[in-house]
Subunit: 216 residues, 2 copies
DNA sequence: GTCAATGATCGTGTATACAAGAAGTGCTAT
DNA sequence: ATAGCACTTCTTGTATACACGATCATTGAC
């Protein structure tokens, strides 16, 4: 419980949204949240204002807060931006790679290999996250890293859905291999290109996304 | 006065920070702000929480809010990300250009030409902003546009400083010309490359930035 | 029977009160 | 004279109270 209640609540509610416990479009009643977490309305309001500022919810004046529903098209746009930022991170990583980052990438990469081989999509989902974070960190740009982590968080639910698609695990892992090769070879342009392809959702992957979002 | 006081205050304080009325490192006293704007502490706190979530200020538990001082290196990183996003916007604009967007770009571009010819750096500063916004809009990606506008806002003070550098006006405008040509020619890759160069601050432009930040 | 208007109820927006912690100041002791 | 400790004061964090606006339901009229 992070020192101050407002911030703790923000993380708590944010997680609830990102794990789909509060679904898009759902109304967030201040009083309900307050009693649920055993605090007064004040810190709840502060948490909601922050989530509004981040763009996770929308507070309509005098009409309460609702969880934002991005819709397939907007989610596509978010992946598009994510792809671009990851591409940049990859190209920076290739240029600036040092021993520690190299080891971090290798470690997370091999963990991905294991969970992919085991066909464990939940484990892969987690290891994949760590792998990408290792690349952000290797880019040595704090601001870029923050932006990547933030967007990555917001796209988490959709990424999870995507991993359920048949063969996506092994495809994803082989893409990882090529990315690691490019970064370790110091080939920034290639790393950028591969990451853009890996993260972006072109063609059939977009229709997979739409389909998985529809069943929700 | 945007319907609700908290949101109005957020914009107000945000502008004050971005126009350097509150300088980096400065402590923002809730009570002082409250009396200054003639409201109670509650909406002030809500505004501050939002600015904290956006990353403009930092609220340290029980020790108040201070304006974040990015420092030259971090500002450089922000420009680096901005360059990447603008590059994406440019490449999308080249692909998706329609009549309305084309006219918007042409209009803002020629306004830049006039203020550049007049050597009016303040006017150019404004027209330049509109020109870039026209490109974001032409990309037809709402999310990307929002991200660009937000980052653009945060980098405003530094961009303004940059325009004061000798010859920057005419250099900037000739870069604009090439960018417009690439977009109108439908050459997405070239538009991306040119915008990355235009927005990023490599080499001597970085030292110019550091120098201009030091005198503050 | 349907639509509109008015009133009741519920929930948000702002203010204020109270509690707890941090920083600064003054006093005392070495 | 200086360092350390305690006390005071100031500011933030949380709760609560009150007011205003929105929504919904009920009633009346066409």
């Amino acid at each position: 419980m992070s020192e101050n209640v407002g911030r703790w609540l923000r993380d708590e509610i944010e997680n609830s949204i990102l794990s789909n416990e509060f679904s898009p479009g759902e109304r967030l009643d201040e009083m309900v949240l307050a009693t649920r977490f055993g605090v007064s309305r004040t810190p709840v309001r502060e948490a909601l204002m922050q989530l509004d500022a981040i763009g996770l919810i929308e507070i309509r004046p005098r009409r309460g807060a609702i969880v934002i529903d991005p819709g397939p098209h907007r989610v596509y746009e978010m992946f598009e931006v994510m792809a671009e930022l990851e591409g940049l991170a990859g190209s920076l990583a290739a240029r600036r790679l040092d021993k520690a980052s190299r080891e971090a990438i290798t470690a997370t990469h091999s963990r991905c290999e294991q969970s992919a081989a085991a066909g464990d999509s939940d484990a892969y989902y987690y290891d994949n996250e760590e792998f990408h974070k290792a690349i952000y960190a290797a880019g040595r740009s704090e601001f870029l890293e923050e932006q990547c982590v933030q967007l990555h968080r917001r796209l988490r639910p959709y990424r999870r859905l995507q991993l359920r698609v048949r063969n996506r695990l092994s495809t994803s892992f082989s893409e990882h291999c090529a990315i690691v090769d490019a970064i370790f070879a110091g080939d920034g342009d290639e790393a950028r290109r591969l990451l853009r392809m890996h993260v972006g959702i072109q063609g059939e992957r977009f229709s997979d996304l739409v389909a998985s979002m529809a069943v929700r």
